[in-house]
Symmetry: C2
Subunit: 338 residues, 2 copies
């Protein structure tokens, strides 16, 4: 099928770019040096491609992502890198993991999350340490106490994790390096108190900078977005929202049929090559050409570049894998939802 036959808006991934991104990353961080974060794509089909590139351990943000990976046969070594306290759903996941002989590690940063891990029958945890981003993670000085508490509950503390989310997007590379160093000094300190073989951290923006972590939790590198593009990383934009021009005004703007329900908006407007994006509505983008040579007409197809990949993917049911404008495969976004 040609992409012109797709109903729009449609999420498309350019196979050659996607595969090049996979290759660059698997050369830089082969095998278990990368623990791909599936929250960026929420598709077990993309995770399978990452698995074919040599990675077999995965990072999840939700129980549903972990469940889906287990059911897809990719649950060998999972890290639920998020604090979860819903014991009923954790129990369900634990039973599933047991049945499929999956190892699922939980991140814990409090007595309540340790209690939830214990109550739901999990065996393995990482102590989540706050390394500078005001989000989850305990203070350094609390890490040994939590580790002791986990041990007392019979849990194995396999190491530490700490996400330097405040650093991954810094545009200046030197600043990024400096912030990552500061963060990883905190994590190393906590690790020296807690022990364990795993130091899990990092993201696409710090995959080549973070040298302390034993594994990097990058996800966005597979598809990229306009925000990550600003960092000058070797990964290229593989994911687009294919859209159709539905209205052209004689007053100088055009309108296409992508919008707030097909694009994550927290990083601002998406981009359209050689165009100025004016604003987005639920089902529309109003935009204009930057060049008098580029004129749009109704029925034209355009490729919209999302500003933030994760919340964009979460609006879609499927990704169309394309090459030379032909649809080669349809990959369900089967790990999304709550």
């Amino acid at each position: 099928m040609h992409i012109d036959d797709l109903d729009t808006p449609a999420l498309i991934a350019e196979k050659p770019i996607f595969e090049a991104n996979l290759e660059i990353m698997s050369k830089a961080l082969p095998g278990s040096r990368l623990r791909p974060h599936v929250k960026a794509h929420q598709s077990s089909f993309v995770a399978k491609a990452q698995n074919k590139s040599g990675h077999y351990s995965f990072t999840c943000a939700t129980l549903k992502e972990a469940e889906g990976l287990i059911k897809a046969g990719l649950g060998k070594d999972l890290l639920l890198a998020n604090e979860c306290v819903n014991i009923n759903s954790l129990k369900h996941l634990q039973k599933l993991a047991e049945h499929f002989e999956s190892r699922v590690m939980l991140a814990v940063d409090s007595k309540e999350t340790i209690e939830a891990a214990y109550q739901s029958g999990f065996k393995n945890v990482l102590i989540d340490v706050n390394v500078g981003l005001p989000r989850c993670g305990c203070l350094i000085e609390d890490s040994p106490k939590l580790s002791d508490l986990a041990n007392k509950k019979g849990l194995n503390v396999l190491g530490v994790m700490g996400y330097e989310g405040h650093a991954v997007g810094l545009l200046d590379k030197n600043e990024r390096i400096k912030e990552v160093q500061k963060s990883m000094e905190i994590l190393a300190d906590a690790h020296s108190k807690v022990g364990g073989e795993i130091i899990s951290a990092g993201g696409t923006g710090t995959y080549d900078i973070n040298t302390l972590a034993t594994e990097i939790q990058a996800g966005s590198y597979v598809f990229m977005d306009s925000q990550y593009q600003k960092l000058g990383l070797p990964f290229n934009q593989a994911l687009f929202v294919l859209s159709t021009v539905i209205s052209v005004s004689r007053q100088g703007w055009a309108v296409c049929d992508a919008g707030l329900k097909s694009l994550g908006m927290d990083h601002g407007n998406p981009e359209i090559a050689d165009c100025e994006v004016w604003f987005c509505s639920d089902e529309h983008i109003t935009f204009s050409s930057r060049s008098s040579d580029l004129k749009f007409k109704v029925n034209d197809r355009i490729k919209v570049i999302p500003a933030h990949v994760d919340p964009t993917v979460a609006y879609h049911d499927r990704i169309y894998l394309v090459e030379n404008e032909e649809v080669l495969d349809i990959w369900p976004i089967d790990l999304r939802g709550h």
Copy 2:
């Protein structure tokens, strides 16, 4: 089921507030004076409640919304208030409408959209007129030409529509009134050239101001959001993202499990009563209490108020209808997707 037993994040609607909103609107704009826009809730179950309040004509933004309403028995009188040029999908919708004896009007603003309506077998159109928002809609002077073209193709032009989207959110009511008047003068001018019984316009922010339109396309009033709350309308916040506190820092913030994948972000951060929202991540909100009396602990449940209802609902599978913290019903968000 008590709401504490729900997995979070979960979209909940407070039944008494929701019903009060329905009642206020159906008193102000009874029956066909309101053509509820389903894009705000994307649920045929909510549309059924609107139908019970006396409304039987509906506005849709997507083919999927129209299809879903028809299948749910609510397709008596639909307006697809958006330009659509995907002929295959339009044909499919037209056949469905014919089978269920639904009237579906299409908005058209160009020869291409008229051609698409004609090619796909639709009979009834409205001329979409640009009334000031830089989006779809033709210029006044083009409206008679388009109407003539539609007639020549054998289409019935039932009237005009024009959405004053640049006015619906203006905080100052006098300014809002002024802008609506300007917009409706344009629409009245186009209507005088085109004719037809329908003048369709308006939204929640102008439902009581727009006196020209024969029908108002309001949708958000059923649930509301923090943006619309600023206008001092008589509708109250009925929709919340129920979330669980998963981490509390000794440094002064807390983290709950709602985030960018459960909240539309184009209007900025969501709100939490008596709290300061710091920022949102994919699966987290970092926030702090404004009062020293309000302290959070892990496992606490909080109600997050979305900044923009439409793209929030589009992230969820279902709405839990609740009263006194008990779940009374589960309503699938069955009209979402593309």
